[in-house]
């Protein structure tokens, strides 16, 4: 009988107990998610990882697919296969011993769980300053890494790539994530109410402009991480985006890539 090794990865206040038969994989997770390891006594979710040897089957370029079949989410990419049961709050992953596959599965599971709670993962850098979180969203090249690198010492970086947005009463809070981008710096595991969402553009001067609600929702939806091909989930994400722009100020931030831009962020 093989023993199992567990570790609770807690992102956004949601502990997912990851179970593996391989102690070295557990150690890999402990290192990868340092700062986001929670107590495993009462996990909200459970994920069993079956490690398989490298093979052509687990090394294809197949894009990620997420589909609901028979009450279970089926997650599939070239390098992993997984199922997630939203009612039992548990799932199973088959992958080789690498951190990238489990990282993607965790992101997808969080998007599925958050969608039912009015939250989402967003392509955005985020940081806390003076008790409020600020999100800086945009496609690749818009400046997420740049603005993260320029953050002043009093700013607490939550992520330079993937921001975690949760409903919190009448507003929203942003939580730190270990999902790093080019800066390769894991975010701080803390959260704060969201003050403003900025859509980034780089330009000849630092400037903040209003964004009308419809445009804000359109830009937001363009940057929400969304994997599932599922009509009900599309409706949930749409509703979440509309409610978010109803409650949180959304502005366009054009900036010159130097530290003075942060004078505007407070």
């Amino acid at each position: 009988m093989s023993s199992s090794h567990e570790i609770a990865v807690e992102i956004g206040g949601m502990p997912i107990l990851v179970r593996t038969a391989d102690p070295s994989f557990r150690e890999l997770l402990a290192s990868r998610y340092a700062g986001f390891i929670g107590a495993s006594a009462e996990p909200s979710f459970e994920l069993d990882v079956d490690l398989v040897p490298p093979s052509p089957e687990m090394a294809s370029d197949e894009d990620v697919r997420v589909e609901m079949q028979g009450g279970q989410w089926h997650l599939r990419r070239g390098d992993f296969r997984a199922q997630w049961d939203p009612r039992l709050r548990r799932g199973r992953v088959r992958q080789t011993a690498n951190p990238y596959s489990i990282d993607s599965v965790l992101r997808i599971v969080h998007t599925l769980v958050l969608a039912r709670e009015g939250g989402f993962l967003l392509h955005a850098a985020s940081a806390i300053r003076q008790g409020r979180a600020f999100l800086f969203s945009g496609v690749s090249g818009a400046g997420k890494t740049t603005i993260s690198r320029l953050a002043p010492p009093d700013a607490i970086l939550l992520s330079d790539e993937i921001s975690y947005v949760r409903r919190a009463g009448e507003g929203y809070s942003a939580c730190g994530t270990p999902f790093a981008g080019e800066l390769a710096r894991v975010g701080e595991n803390c959260s704060a109410p969201i003050g403003t969402l900025y859509f980034l553009a780089q330009g000849p001067e630092n400037r903040i402009e209003p964004v009308n609600p419809a445009e804000a929702a359109r830009c937001l939806l363009r940057n929400v991480l969304f994997f599932a091909e599922d009509a009900e989930l599309v409706k949930l994400i749409f509703r979440s985006a509309c409610e978010f722009v109803d409650r949180v100020p959304v502005q366009r931030l054009t900036f010159v890539p130097d530290q003075r831009v942060w004078d505007l962020i407070q």
């Binding site: 009308n212 609600p213 929702a217 939806l221 009509a231 009900e232 409706k235």
Partner: protein, 105 residues
């Protein structure tokens, strides 16, 4: 020329935000923002009112638009949204918007 009937699909999410009607297809995630005239047509798409009547009542009577221009614009709008499954189109009235066209009236 036979008339057409249009009905809003249930496979969409829609909401007015900042005075603009936003619609997203739940099938292919296509996103539309409708202007005032398109919103009027959208809101009149009950599956039972002939499109020609919608053009007159919701567009020509409410906005200063030439009937022929209005009809052409509405036809183009309907064709575009129907391609994404956002509007259902039939040459017969719909029993209800979610179950497709009913028996010919």
């Amino acid at each position: 020329m036979s008339d057409r009937y249009i009905a809003r699909s249930t496979e969409i999410a829609a909401r007015i935000l900042g005075g603009e009607m936003m619609i997203m297809s739940a099938v292919d995630s296509t996103f539309f923002t409708l202007n005032e005239v398109a919103t009027a047509v959208w809101q009149a798409a009950d599956g039972r009112t002939p499109l020609s009547e919608i053009v007159v009542r919701a567009v020509c009577d409410q906005f200063e638009v030439d009937p022929e221009v209005a009809r052409a614009d509405v036809d183009a709008f309907v064709d575009e949204l129907s391609r994404h499954g956002i509007l259902l189109v039939s040459d017969r009235p719909f029993d209800n918007a979610s179950s497709g066209p009913g028996e010919a009236a």
